[in-house]
Symmetry: C2
Subunit: 242 residues, 2 copies
């Protein structure tokens, strides 16, 4: 088991089947929160990615770094570190990546495969979203909502909005970004992001959700307009109390 | 002189003054095209950034890597490699960056300062631009134009469109992206981008411009609509001839 120290349930029905099979199991992960649930476990919260630990494991076992293995490890590390930009990125991360590039990984090709395969519809929706970002709290909060009607108009599902939630944070001076998406069943999915200075998980907890300091969320019942008004007001109040 | 092996003229009026001063001069660069124009020169086209060469120079001179120096070198290398994604990025790049992080560079903070300080107006204009991307040549060409009227409406100058030209290339299947910006004086600035497979500089030369294989451009007189029609047609024809 890789990158799933939350337990078997993180693997859904696959986890159920594996757990029921009762075979010898190993968990390798860099997430700090998990309790041991496998026969053997190796958890290193200092690692920026589980890919770093697999790199070390291959070295310790005297294995070869073939080009496909190097490419897979590079991809695992690049995605888990937001392409080397998250604060988790450490000197060791770059040392490992240097070794992977020496084994033939082409960074430009992998970047293109990871981030430059969007559909025209998703691009148009992203444009619509960026055009509708609003500011609150003197520019410290940026928020934007997408309704079911808009998603239908662009032919994009709410499941295909990966990477959108952090976009309002690209505006200078913004400390909290709020991305609201109307779900089909009369609920609204809210994603909070911060630059790490503001603990948005505390804001998410107020709405029955949770998460990490820089990235948290909640799902609340209601219509998009009403939920947006309430959530933005709570965020403004939350920020003023600091 | 750093990163300017094209000659004194690359530095504009500063270059004129420096050249006229007749002092001893040194040029350090990683661009392959320049002829020597300084008393001493060190050109290494293998380096992904001139920042790599400065790192090596500090080491060779026995200098200290203070946190401000490490941060400046990290910034130079990160920007010149498109945050480690361009094909110029090599194992040595990551080895150097590992050393810089060990000297206290915070990658998340630098990323935020470099790329997440946009104005709301620029964000809205980016949204408008993404919403107006069109495809041609069965999805192999993506193009979008911005008129002077649109730039005025969003309160953004054509000088503030850094990083926009490559956005249409984020669409899967696109081989050439074309970004057209109407200039105040009845001309249109055209930027071509490709994933490196198609030599868009040859397309730019057809229009009196030039550039590199994956990034080239030209400036032609005319109105936006007419120029767009002509340029997209030329690009479609150019692609069909391959």
């Amino acid at each position: 088991m890789l990158d799933v120290s939350g337990g078997w349930q993180r693997l859904g029905c696959v986890g159920e089947a594996l757990s029921a099979a009762g075979k010898f199991s190993i968990c390798i992960d860099h997430h700090p929160t998990g309790d041991p649930f496998t026969d053997l476990h190796h958890i290193d919260p200092q690692a920026a990615a589980t890919g770093e630990l697999i790199f070390d494991l291959i070295g310790a076992m005297g294995g070869d770094l073939t080009p496909p293995i190097a490419e897979a490890l590079f991809t695992a590390i690049a995605t888990d570190t937001g392409y080397f930009r998250f604060s988790s990125t450490r000197p060791r991360t770059h040392q490992i990546v240097a070794r992977l590039l020496a084994h033939g990984v082409e960074p430009a090709r992998i970047y293109r495969l990871l981030y430059e395969q969007q559909s025209l519809a998703r691009m148009h929706l992203k444009g619509h979203m960026l055009q509708n970002i609003s500011l609150a709290a003197n520019g410290q909060i940026a928020w934007v909502g997408l309704s079911q009607a808009v998603l239908r108009r662009f032919g994009v599902s709410h499941l295909d909005l990966d990477g959108f939630s952090g976009l309002p944070l690209q505006i200078g001076g913004v400390k909290i970004s709020i991305f609201l998406v109307e779900l089909p069943e009369g609920k609204v999915k809210i994603s909070f992001r911060s630059d790490g200075e503001i603990a948005v998980n505390r804001l998410a907890v107020q709405l029955g959700g949770g998460g990490h300091v820089p990235a948290a969320g909640a799902t609340v019942p209601g219509e998009l307009a009403a939920v947006t008004e309430r959530v933005v007001a709570e965020a403004v109040e939350f920020l003023s109390r600091r």
